[in-house]
């Protein structure tokens, strides 16, 4: 036999979601007119809240934000220029080095078998390419952050 009325929190809990309530609360509300009356006011209140119109911006938010983002084309063009500059500088230094030290290179691979020499060169190229790609990915990520700063 229920003798005490429910606490306000319990009434609210039932009004918000009666299925998540303890059985005791549901049973009390079923039997007690006063608590049921409180539940009804809360349910009416929640209905009123849900009926409020959805606020909306009076302008195209997506369009105005996208217009303010840094242009991808311009960035890509700058990136390409930088990459070609790196490649050109790399080739120049490597070519220059090979030309100036050509006399030393004549004797550099003496005594090494052809297949071994080939493997060394391929490994070196693969490692350098991997390092370059990793560096470029990091660079792109950091530039993205800096561009917005």
């Amino acid at each position: 036999m229920v003798t005490k009325h429910l606490m306000d929190d319990e009434v609210q809990q039932y009004a918000v979601n009666k299925f998540s309530c303890e059985k005791r609360i549901a049973e009390h509300i079923h039997l007690c007119g006063e608590c049921r009356s409180k539940v009804e006011v809360y349910q009416l209140l929640i209905t009123g809240i849900k009926q409020q119109p959805q606020p909306a911006f009076n302008f195209d938010l997506s369009k105005s934000v996208l217009q303010q983002l840094p242009s991808q084309e311009a960035k890509t063009a700058n990136d390409s220029l930088l990459i070609w500059l790196f490649i050109f500088t790399g080739i120049s230094f490597t070519g220059g080095g090979l030309y100036f030290f050509r006399n030393y290179f004549k004797y550099f691979f003496e005594g090494i078998e052809t297949i071994l020499g080939f493997l060394i060169v391929v490994t070196a190229v693969m490692v350098l390419a991997g390092l370059y790609l990793d560096m470029y990915k990091k660079y792109r990520k950091e530039m993205k952050v800096l561009d917005m700063g």
Partner: protein, 217 residues
């Protein structure tokens, strides 16, 4: 205790293409340089951002600036997003913080003390409840009859402190869980729940102070 009302939504419907797209997929596309994917993120989260901004900021011009600022910040911080929450919750958090910063700059926050709504003492609450109960005996001609409940509630909500308004909107209109609201507002889920109880109680008492229960139907 499980605070989630619904299962976490893993898939979001792309408003533009109608396809299902995960948060991760969208973020990766944006980070890959596809700015249109960021447009999809904006469309998917715009309602939540509008709800927060409209509850916290009164001025229309400020609302526009803040909404844009929120998404520019989100774009800037996107490489650091760790997928520890839904993308919408993360953007909601940025939005709430941006609104708080704005209010602090305008020194509007101290006046209202939005993080510490004054706790009613037991006696004050009892008085309010008694007054409210007494209204059941008021003559009908002193009360507004037949008024749309939505209009009545709207006026009462406007009188609530900012944090209560925001929580009511996020919980009842956006249907977020206590945990998600906690992430957005920076409040512990228990505090969110307790503030929501207080907010609803204030609304109910305010309603009963002015209207007979029967007139609300």
């Amino acid at each position: 205790m499980q605070h989630f009302r619904n299962q976490p939504v893993k898939w979001q419907v792309n408003n533009i293409t109608g396809q299902n797209t995960t948060d991760r997929e969208l973020v990766e596309r944006v980070l890959g340089g596809e700015t249109n994917a960021f447009g999809i993120i904006i469309k998917n989260t715009e309602n939540l951002v509008a709800k927060i901004i409209f509850e916290m900021i009164n001025n229309d011009g400020d609302r526009k600036d803040i909404a844009q600022d929120v998404y520019l910040k989100a774009y800037q911080k996107l490489p650091g997003f760790k997928f520890q929450s839904k993308l919408s919750t993360w953007i909601g958090q940025i939005c709430h913080n941006t609104c708080i910063d704005h209010l602090r700059k305008k020194k509007m926050i101290l006046a209202e003390n939005i993080y510490e709504p004054e706790a009613e003492s037991a006696n004050e609450l009892l008085d309010m409840m008694n007054t409210a109960r007494g209204n059941f005996d008021k003559p009908v001609d002193t009360l507004v009859i037949g008024k749309n409940i939505s209009e009545i509630v709207k006026k009462k909500i406007e009188k609530l402190p900012t944090i209560y308004r925001t929580l009511i909107s996020l919980y009842h209109k956006e249907e977020l869980s206590y945990d998600e609201i906690g992430m957005i507002t920076g409040l512990p889920p228990g505090t969110v729940k307790s503030y929501l109880f207080r907010a609803r109680r204030e609304l109910r008492n305010d309603l009963l102070l002015h209207y007979k229960k029967e007139d609300l139907w």
